[in-house]
């Protein structure tokens, strides 16, 4: 009768109190949290965009800062989701034992992990929108109406990287462990997936690797929308982001069940 950790998730609206708990904590420090999340990507975008951009004629046919804007939205959303499920999620699961407390109520671990996933996606949506507001203020987008489509893509990006990050959370013995994920997964994606320069500038082998990485697909959706085109192969990119996020969530749930409920 041993529990099967790989049973499909039971999804229910019971996750809402978990989401709400995290929201209430965030709300207490909302303004500094938003500014803190915004500062780093904004400075990269403005510094590199104007500084480095002034040395370049144009990238992919547009001013460098407009090229960089789409990458910044994606990587800022990715970072926000990743930090939330890794560091904050780990605090709640392992350090503060908040999850243990919740598991003694009618909520199940499936509810808790789903709540964390939705919360991290929500928080990363706020980060993505914050950067978009800067972009709109600087008029870096080609078409405002088309750039509004970036918002649902940001939700997908947040979902994708929250799901992936939850796997790391499930297996981590301590905060230090997350450094591997940043060094081996997040940083390579930032450098290979087209945040700062077109993927086509790289050798073929690196392009092939990039084609499998989710951030590439995020950027392939956001950049055209920013520069005033409809993305090509949009459904492929959408499906890749959903697949990474859903697989991550499923694997993370199985590993977390094993970690907390055995």
């Amino acid at each position: 009768m041993s529990r099967n950790y790989l049973t499909l998730p039971t999804l229910s609206l019971r996750f809402i109190p978990v989401w709400r708990r995290n929201y209430l904590v965030w709300k207490k420090l909302a303004i500094p949290a938003i500014l803190g999340n915004l500062a780093d990507p904004m400075l990269y975008m403005l510094g590199l965009g104007y500084g480095l951009g002034s040395l370049m004629p144009s990238v992919a046919g547009v001013p460098y800062i407009a090229f960089l804007a789409a990458g910044t939205v994606c990587y800022s959303t990715m970072n926000s989701a990743t930090f939330e499920v890794l560091y904050s999620g780990f605090s709640r699961m392992h350090v503060q034992k908040t999850w243990d407390a919740i598991l003694n109520t009618p909520l199940t671990l499936d509810d808790v992990v789903l709540g964390e996933l939705v919360w991290a996606s929500t928080k990363s949506l706020l980060s993505g929108i914050a950067i978009l507001v800067i972009i709109w203020a600087l008029q870096l987008q080609a078409s405002f109406w088309l750039s509004l489509w970036i918002i649902p893509v940001v939700v997908l990006i947040g979902f994708c990287f929250s799901g992936m990050g939850l796997v790391m959370n499930a297996v981590s013995p301590s905060y230090d462990f997350f450094l591997y994920y940043f060094t081996l997964v997040i940083t390579p994606m930032v450098l290979l997936c087209g945040v700062f320069f077109p993927v086509s500038q790289m050798p073929a082998i690196l392009q092939n690797i990039a084609a499998f990485l989710p951030l590439t697909h995020a950027i392939n959706l956001v950049r055209p929308l920013m520069l005033g085109h409809i993305p090509t192969q949009a459904w492929l990119h959408v499906m890749v982001l959903i697949a990474y996020g859903a697989a991550g969530f499923y694997i993370a749930l199985g590993l977390t069940r094993k970690r907390l409920l055995s």
Binding site: S2, K28, K97, L107, L261
Partner: protein, 303 residues
């Protein structure tokens, strides 16, 4: 009918049977104790009963529902005080009630109505807006208990509720638990403190190596396993005294380090003798649950 019953519970990790054939039946309104040395399987038993982990074999019924299959429904009527406080440090005292109550699907108004009584129960009425970090250990423990009552549970699990508390805080906790019992609640607690079990529990089991080795009311267990009086003798000459008098004055005796434990039915003759032995220090007392516990589980360290 039992509020909670378990038959033939087994749970192993690797080769080690942590819970090995446990049977329990707990009646409504009882305070039921689960005692045992470190590593005896107490916490695992609680986690099984709560449906947090699935047993390898055996059945559990709580309020007529099968556990762990229907644990979600049943937990609506259950409160849990874990071994380590897991109050939410990001919230104040009142916010802890609010957030925790929502996990049970309670509305804001329902929770708000219950908060004054819960604060009063925890003795924290004047600390409603305090941060968790600013509370003492005893306050946190009482708040954890009060938080477990937010859904007005019929059955309350407490895992070592008074470990680490000073005597004042411990007595306050006991008073709180007695109030709950007077209200007709059922309590299941694990503890290392025999005094606590003796005071609070109607019935208890002693668990060792995952098996039940004794079961009954505290008084019954003492009467069953230990002579009514225990005399502890200390001093350098106890060996000499033992060889001269122990066989004659004690029903049973044992040496533990520098101490001689004498068990007797009334101890009058023993007392008379000891008052003439001015070089011996001694303590004469009624037999306690601790004597039973040590007799059954042995005196070696378990960690």
């Amino acid at each position: 009918m039992s509020v909670l019953s378990a038959q033939h519970l087994r749970k192993s990790y690797g080769d080690q049977a942590v819970v090995d054939g446990v049977n329990l039946a707990i009646e409504k309104g009882q305070c039921f104790g689960i005692l045992g040395p470190n590593g005896a399987g107490k916490t695992t038993t609680l986690r099984l009963l709560l449906g947090l982990i699935a047993p390898d074999s055996g059945q559990i019924q709580m309020f007529g529902h099968a556990i762990p299959q229907q644990a979600r429904e049943v937990r609506q009527r259950v409160g849990v005080v874990p071994q380590l406080d897991n109050l939410d440090p990001d919230f104040s005292v009142i916010e802890n009630f609010m957030v925790y109550g929502r996990y049970f699907g309670l509305s804001k108004t329902e929770i708000a109505q219950r908060i004054p009584a819960l604060l009063d129960f925890a003795g924290l009425s004047n600390r409603a807006d305090a941060k968790i970090q600013d509370l003492s250990g005893g306050m946190k423990r009482r708040l954890t208990l009060a938080r477990a009552l937010v859904n007005d549970p019929d059955l309350i699990f407490l895992d070592e509720p008074t470990t680490g508390l000073d005597p004042q805080a411990r007595h306050l906790m006991w008073q709180g638990l007695r109030r709950l019992l007077n209200q007709g609640k059922t309590i299941i607690l694990t503890t290392h403190f025999m005094e606590e079990a003796e005071r609070l529990c109607d019935r208890l089991v002693i668990l060792d190596h995952g098996r039940l080795i004794a079961e009954g009311a505290p008084r019954e267990l003492i009467a069953q396993h230990i002579e009514p009086c225990v005399t502890e003798l200390y001093g350098e000459n106890i060996a000499h005294w033992r060889d001269s008098f122990a066989a004659q004055l004690c029903a049973r005796h044992e040496n533990v380090g520098e101490t001689l434990f004498c068990y007797s039915s009334d101890g009058a003759a023993l007392m008379q003798n000891l008052h003439t032995q001015t070089h011996l220090r001694f303590l004469h007392r009624p037999a306690s649950l601790e004597d039973v516990f040590l007799k059954l589980t042995g005196r070696e360290l378990r960690d």
